[in-house]
């Protein structure tokens, strides 16, 4: 926390941005709706949300890689219409050029500045030293571990001395230990004022990461992406994960994120309850992860009721993995989620106790009762004399309610669940749903 409130100047001003993409058939798909936020000097801003909430799209708009449909982004008083000098980005996959050495990769950021070769070299070496890569200058990315690669990604972004650093889930592809080391190293440099940057925007789906690093956190909702809430983190650095205030904040954010209407259908039909219409986008979950979570919650020490942050860390799941599974369980009435807790229903507890055959029967019953799409597919197959229907029959129908990619994912999920429940089968070769029992 730097300085008093008065002399804070705004680096970046985002006003009422909307972004929509054109679908192949010409209609528009809204992915970001009315986003407004201001980034002040000395702040780390977190954009927190699950996959598909448009946070990465927003980051690309800020980086000048794509234009917003409406609204404006102003950086240091000028509107962003192209990648501006002074905004650099760290990518999730580190996005290094495999044919360039560490040094050359870091220099790449400077090439466009047309500096003399010596200056180029000096600055690159300095950035490499700062980020703890000395000795690796001549290595190729393939020779480095994931953590080292991401350090090169940081060095490449810092070498241009940007005012704003954009980070797109920079730690999510790393293992837990490496990610933690990188985070604390970054925070140390940041709080010691060693970094040339004035502001950071971090996209993440990891709640603890956001609380650990950010000064302000914007919670994003999906379909279309929008800001649901802004949370100020006033804990002093370095923050300790086990500090009760830290835990409270994490818990609070979990509650915020689970109290929102889950699985909101996209498009025309507005369903009040999740899973009651075929327009519901189903997340990518498998029957294994569903029964896995059910069993974990049913077993001790939880005995049917668990705190989401607690079970998330014990299962090593982040919210983009945990929430879809938990919400699908809720949709199937095997569990209830409220106030950051997951609680098994009677049927959920039964499921955990049953053997495979009875589990499947119970699963089939709930799938047909509570997931409209499953019931719909089964009904269509029952009605047709040959009990067969092509993929496109349902894909076309779903695309009325959701973008094609979501329709694809929804159908894949319902096929996986339907196969497990043995309520229908699917022949991928012929792309046909049928009732043949293998």
């Amino acid at each position: 926390m730097k300085g008093a409130q008065i002399d804070i100047t705004s680096l970046l001003d985002i006003r009422r941005i909307c972004k929509s993409f054109k679908r192949p058939d010409g209609s528009e798909l809204l992915v970001l709706d009315g986003i407004s936020l201001v980034v002040n000097e000395g702040e780390i801003i977190g954009l927190l949300g699950r996959s598909g909430s448009g946070k990465s799209t927003l980051l690309r708009l800020i980086a000048g890689l794509a234009p917003p449909s409406t609204g404006s982004i102003t950086y240091l008083g000028k509107e962003v219409t192209a990648p501006p000098p002074g905004i650099a980005m760290v990518f999730q996959s580190s996005a290094l050029f495999p044919w360039l050495t560490v040094l050359e990769n870091v220099q790449l950021g400077l090439e466009a500045l047309r500096l003399p070769v010596k200056e180029l070299h000096r600055r690159a070496i300095k950035a490499i030293d700062l980020i703890g890569l000395d000795g690796f200058e001549s290595a190729y990315p393939r020779e480095l571990s994931g953590g080292m690669r991401q350090r090169v990604g940081f060095a490449r972004a810092l070498v241009v001395h940007p005012n704003i650093l954009l980070m797109d889930e920079p730690f999510s592809a790393l293992d837990v230990l490496t990610a933690e080391t990188l985070r604390t190293d970054f925070l140390d440099l940041w709080s010691e004022g060693q970094l040339p940057i004035k502001g950071v925007i971090l996209v993440t789906h990891n709640i603890e990461e956001a609380v650990l690093m950010c000064d302000r956190i914007f919670i994003f909702g999906s379909n279309p992406g929008c800001i649901l809430n802004e949370i100020r983190v006033e804990l002093p650095h370095p923050r300790a994960r086990l500090d009760p205030a830290f835990r409270d904040l994490v818990e609070h954010i979990y509650v915020e994120m689970t109290s929102q209407a889950v699985l909101v259908p996209a498009g025309k039909r507005v369903e009040l309850f999740p899973g009651t219409g075929i327009g519901t986008i189903l997340p990518r979950v498998s029957s294994n992860s569903l029964s896995g979570l059910l069993e974990a919650v049913a077993a001790s020490p939880y005995n049917g009721e668990a705190d989401l942050p607690v079970i998330a860390s014990s299962l090593h799941m982040e919210i983009n993995n945990l929430f879809p599974v938990a919400e699908t369980l809720q949709m199937l009435r095997f569990a209830e989620i409220s106030g950051g807790d997951i609680r098994l229903t009677t049927e959920g507890k039964q499921f955990a106790d049953f053997d495979t055959d009875r589990r499947k029967q119970l699963f089939a019953r709930n799938l047909l009762t509570y997931v409209a799409l499953a019931a719909h597919i089964r009904r269509v197959l029952d009605e047709r004399p040959a009990h067969r229907a092509p993929w496109s029959r349902f894909a076309d129908e779903l695309e009325d309610y959701m973008p094609p990619a979501a329709a694809l994912q929804t159908l894949r999920t319902i096929i996986a669940l339907g196969r497990y429940a043995e309520i229908f089968s699917y022949d991928d070769e012929k792309q046909i749903f049928n009732l043949d029992n293998p």
């Binding site: 058939d25 010409g26 980086a63 234009p67 219409t81 996005a95 495999p98 360039l100 790449l108 020779e143």
Partner: protein, 579 residues
């Protein structure tokens, strides 16, 4: 309502692909007709270039070999220039890509071998009486056998540059020129070098065929291995044929060691997928070059100049902006109209040209004959591919599963694929003449002589990628004999086999033009087929029949590709690709 809208979009998309294919066919056909007509007009004053006597003396061979390989090199450079410009244009401009890509697809299927005569005449008209025209024609012929697949691979690479790398280079504000050399070219390199090697094999075949060409009464000979062997055939000199083959082997070996091995070793670090545990290819030439201080001294200024071009490209203050504003949109729509109008006009002109050409000299029953002959060549190609598959698939799998054997055999097969099979034709033809065999049957194997190696080569590559676990589980479950082939080996190599078979089939069609008709001294053997038809028309200087023959053959290749190979290929990729 929405659904119908989507359906209409899908339909119109499918229709538009067909539409652009048709435009491309029209353009290619029109171009050939245009060339043929231009050449015919120039035919009369054509004089044989300053006579170059070819000597069958062994001491002349090194010089001939050098000239032949220089021609190859010139064509390769030309192909690279074409690749970098044409493919880049097609990838960067949506408008241009719409027509350039189908055009490339059709050009790939045209048997240019049948058209060498026409291009020879065309180029010689630029420099009448001089050897330069013939040289240009030969280089052009080689170029046409190399450029298309290289351009295609480069285009595909440009379209599949990883999104994050593209975003990174944009967010670091690299200029398009820098992006091209720092990101796009390196990313495309591995595929491009692979295609250069395939192209080179095709090129050797063409260089041999294009050095000694007779059109009507005019014969053009360029000093080179091809004309050497043509003379040897004429004089029934088996020793000379043997010498030429031996020299060719050496030339290809040198090319391999000095050019392609170093290239393959060099492009290895451009591979985007990185497996740390893979043994990288090595080349003693590259290692020597890398360690040499002289090379470093020579290259340092070049590198400086290169860096300077980056700076210059930035100097033209490059501003990337979003095209959004009203004026931009109206200009774009204007350009659209201009572009489509231009295409429509060119197409109308060409169809008019083709119509006149066809009406002038092509009888309907002639078309029937050509199609019938095409069918007979088609039967040959399919039977040969089938026979080659039956032989080489099991052999390839056997070799591929034994890493030791594969290491030895793979370079040999690669080498065999590069060797111009037409150099071996005289040996076979002299045998057929001596034994008085039926040319309709026995000339056919020549068509696949050079192209069968693609099948073997790809199957070996496929078999060596079968995961060890898959083989272990087969052993574990006691899967043996025919079941093992049916359930494990054949499905695993199927996608690779398809790649090989498609290449072999295309190459065989092309080879039919030189393989279906062959001579040994003054004896000429002829098989009934479209290749022989084109070759005969060339010898007669009958441009109408040449164009007809080429058009029919292109149609056969395109239709077979679309209706037979492509669906099979898609199936192979979808169902059987491992991992």
């Amino acid at each position: 309502m929405n659904k119908q809208h989507g359906l209409a979009a899908k339909l119109s998309h499918r229709f538009s692909a067909l539409f652009w294919d048709l435009v491309a066919i029209l353009l290619v056909l029109g171009l050939i007709v245009f060339l043929a007509q231009a050449s015919r007009g120039l035919m009369q004053p054509l004089t044989a270039p300053g006579e170059t006597a070819i000597s069958l003396d062994a001491s002349a061979l090194p010089e001939y070999a050098l000239r032949t390989s220089l021609r190859m090199l010139a064509a390769m450079i030309l192909s690279l220039l074409f690749t970098f410009t044409y493919a880049t244009w097609a990838a960067k401009s949506q408008r241009a890509g719409q027509i350039l890509i189908p055009l490339l697809d059709i050009l790939q299927s045209v048997p240019i071998l049948g058209f060498i005569s026409v291009t020879v005449v065309f180029f010689m008209s630029f420099a009448p009486g001089k050897i330069l025209g013939a040289e240009l024609a030969a280089i052009f012929a080689i170029f046409t056998s190399q450029a298309w697949n290289m351009a295609f691979s480069f285009y595909q690479s440009l379209r599949t540059v990883p999104v994050e790398l593209a975003e990174a280079s944009r967010s670091f504000r690299l200029t398009p020129w820098m992006r091209f050399w720092k990101l796009e070219v390196p990313f495309a390199m591995p595929a491009l070098v692979w295609n250069m090697m395939v192209s080179m094999s095709a090129g050797w075949f063409f260089v041999v065929a294009s050095e000694a060409i007779s059109v009507g009464s005019t014969t053009v000979t360029l000093p080179g291995i091809g004309s050497y062997i043509a003379l040897a055939i004429d004089q029934r000199d088996l020793d000379a044929v043997g010498r030429a083959i031996a020299v060719m082997l050496i030339v290809i070996l040198i090319y391999d060691q000095l050019l392609f091995r170093p290239l393959v070793a060099w492009v290895d670090h451009f591979h985007f997928e990185q497996h740390a545990d893979r043994v990288p290819p090595r080349s003693w030439v590259l290692t020597a070059l890398r360690r040499s201080r002289w090379v470093a001294i020579i290259f340092a200024p070049l590198a400086r100049i290169w860096r300077w071009t980056y700076q210059i490209s930035g100097g033209v203050t490059y501003k990337e902006r979003f095209h959004q504003n009203e004026t931009g949109a109206s200009i774009a729509s204007w350009l659209d109209w201009l572009w489509y109008g231009g295409i429509a006009m060119v197409c109308t002109f060409l169809s008019w040209k083709i119509k006149i050409f066809v009406l002038q000299g092509v009888a309907l029953d002639e078309v029937g004959t050509a199609i019938l002959l095409g069918c007979s060549t088609m039967v040959r190609v399919f039977v040969l591919i089938a026979i080659a598959s039956i032989i080489w698939v099991p052999v390839g799998i056997w070799i591929g599963l034994r890493p030791g054997a594969a290491r030895i055999v793979q370079p040999i097969v690669q080498f065999m694929a590069a060797f111009p099979a037409n150099l071996l034709f005289p040996l076979a033809v002299s045998g057929i003449v001596a034994l008085q065999l039926n040319p309709d049957i026995w000339l056919s194997p020549l068509m696949i002589l050079g192209t069968q190696w693609y099948i073997l080569f790809n199957v070996i590559a496929g078999a060596s990628t079968i995961p060890g676990e898959l083989r272990d589980i087969g052993t574990n479950l006691g899967v043996r004999g025919w079941l093992w082939w049916r359930r494990i080996a054949l499905p695993a190599v199927f996608p690779f086999y398809m790649t090989g078979a498609v290449t072999a089939s295309g190459g065989s069609w092309n080879a039919s033009i030189v393989a279906e008709i062959a001579s040994w001294g003054n004896t000429t053997l002829k098989a009934h087929g479209l290749g022989a038809y084109i070759a005969e028309a060339t010898a007669d200087g009958d441009f109408h029949r040449i164009v007809l023959g080429i058009a029919v053959m292109s149609a056969f290749v395109v239709v077979i590709n679309r209706l037979f190979w492509r669906p099979l290929y898609t199936l192979a990729e979808r169902k059987y690709r491992l991992g």
